[in-house]
Amino acid sequence: MSLSTYTERFERFAATLPAAEQQQRQAQFARFLSSGFPTRALEEWRYTDLSTYADRDYSLGEALPSNVASECLADAERVVYVNGVLNTELSTTSRWHAAVDAPKTLRDGLIALNAAFARGGLNLQLPKNERLAAPLQVLLVSRAESSAVMSHQCHRIELGENAEATVLLQFVGNGGERLATHVIDITLAAGAKLQLYRLQDEGSGATLITQVEVQQARGSQLRALTIDLGAAFVRHDFSTDLAGPGADAEISGLYAPRGTAHIDNHTRAVHSAPHCRSRSHYRGIIDERARAVFNGKVLVQPDAQKTDSEQRIANLLLSRRAEVNAKPELEIYADDVKCAHGATVGQLDETALGYLRSRGIPQDAARALLLRAFAVEILDRITWPALAARVAAGMNLPSEMPLASLDEVMA
């Protein structure tokens, strides 16, 4: 493993920093050099191969002009980053931006890389009982023109007691080869409520690595939903520690990779305190030559009695060249628990398809209806209509008749 190009880039970057900061960055970069990119020998990286990244050369991304108008959700406040640099023109607020920040802990080589190069990002701090009036859309745009580009950002969300917020982290991009890493540290104080969406619709050429780490105090509530579309090479780690009694986490996701996309989702719910509840529901639709990986883990610590946890993972494989690897794990060290998981892999139900066609619905439309039916369990959890519409459009799914109006007319 050479990593020499990263060293060159780092030295150039470090020279631009104040002396005091340089030292810390050097240490972080040294950590990256000693760990390197994870290899497939590591159980956690069994199906995702980053071995070729050591020899690549990415220049540190710059603020390129970007047109993101079509991605703007009307009812949201917006913070926009292009190649890791805040774009104040496209943003509606800069209140939640912090100039410099670094991940709390350097868990592995990738996070060390992120820490060494991190150039600031979202910093949402809500005091006790405060509620974010409008949802916050964080647009993270990656663009590469003539040469390969990388950007590294660290974001932080801290909600005080009983504070509430809805945040969307949205990853879009275009152009040539690009690498982006994002570390998102989240702390939820007692009774805080966070609705966190992550939408990835990157094009080919993108490598996106996102790591979300949540700490949940007593009675806090996390609703996290992640959607992966597009054709990128993606690794997403989502981990939450239910550290206070009564904490509750619902983690769900939908991935629909196409082309030669590679989508690797790793989720982890750690029950450290008693009486917590976690749900993890993921669904995947894998088409063309795409590859999906899902690894879900529920870890119940010795004192986490009365844990209630459930993991469900379902995959549809639509093409002969598509592939899925799934592993829903349980690691349990307490006895008074209710833990279950289920996983399925299959294809579209031919009988249902035949039934729809016998009613006159063309094959493509019938397929789309069934795909929608499969995805709806996750899509229905999007409680933000503008976002739901954006996702449905991104997946080319037919819209369902609004049922509220149906009830009115039928009554």
Partner: protein
């Protein structure tokens, strides 16, 4: 001539089920096809509707003079064929109302008509749902999802009433129904009787025919129509069973 079946041979996997079946149905007629289990009654229904896995090895099926066997199942439906399934399929996640709207608009598009107005559509569905005593609330649930056996059959009839086909094939629609549900189903079928339409009732028992009077009764056995007659034939079958036909 609405439907003409000539010398139809069909197989499922390697087994030949239909072995030279002939049947002619004119507009305005109701035909009952009866026969012992395994005679090929359901196979006939699915071959007409175009289900995959049924291979026609010989013969032809013409619908309004068109070669039906060349058409995809959805095109057959749009041409006006409706099959009421013996075992209606459950499709969680696709609501009944979505299915109905998609099916109705597919038919209109096929005929070059524009999509139905949402208000008109809902009114159309509401009135017909009443006819078969289906709670409109059930329509927002997944197709046949969690429906009882009787509800599934009534839902088939509802789809038929909404789609207004010209040839209705009802495959064992009467099986497993109590007397009230049977009446509702029969009323639905009778509502659809018209000079331009025809009905094929595929059934094992005489019971449904007490409510829906057929013009012709055929006995299907060993993959062929072995006897045809009027309504009195159904009575005879009810009394004597199917054994005497094979003996004859």
């Amino acid at each position: 001539m609405l439907l003409e079946i000539k010398n139809l041979h069909a197989r499922v996997e390697t087994k030949e089920i239909l072995k030279g079946l002939d049947l002619t149905v004119k507009a305005g007629e109701v035909h009952a096809i009866m026969g012992p289990n395994g005679a090929g009654k359901s196979t006939l229904s699915h071959v007409i509707a175009g289900r995959e896995g049924y291979a026609v090895t010989d013969g032809e099926v013409l619908f309004n003079g068109k070669n039906l066997l060349e058409l995809e199942p959805e095109a057959r439906a749009c041409e006006g064929i409706f099959l009421g399934f013996q075992y209606p399929v459950e499709i969680p996640g696709v609501s009944n109302i979505t299915l109905l709207k998609a099916a109705l608009n597919a038919r209109r598009k096929y005929r070059g008509e524009k999509e139905i107005e949402p208000g008109d559509f809902l009114a159309w569905v509401r009135d017909r749902a009443k006819l078969v005593k289906i709670d409109p609330k059930m329509l927002s649930r997944g197709v046949n999802e969690g429906f009882s056996g009787g509800e599934k059959k009534r839902n088939e009839i509802l789809q038929m009433l909404i789609l207004q086909p010209t040839l209705m094939i009802l495959d064992e629609t009467d099986s497993g129904l109590d007397i009230d549900a049977l009446r509702i189903v029969a009323d639905g079928i009778n509502t659809m009787r018209a000079p331009e339409r025809a009905t094929i009732l595929v059934t094992h028992y005489q019971r449904l025919l007490d409510y829906v009077q057929p013009d012709f009764v055929h006995v299907l056995a060993g993959g062929r129509i072995v006897k045809s007659g009027g309504p009195e034939l159904a009575k005879e079958l009810e009394d004597k069973g199917y054994g005497w036909l094979e003996a004859a």
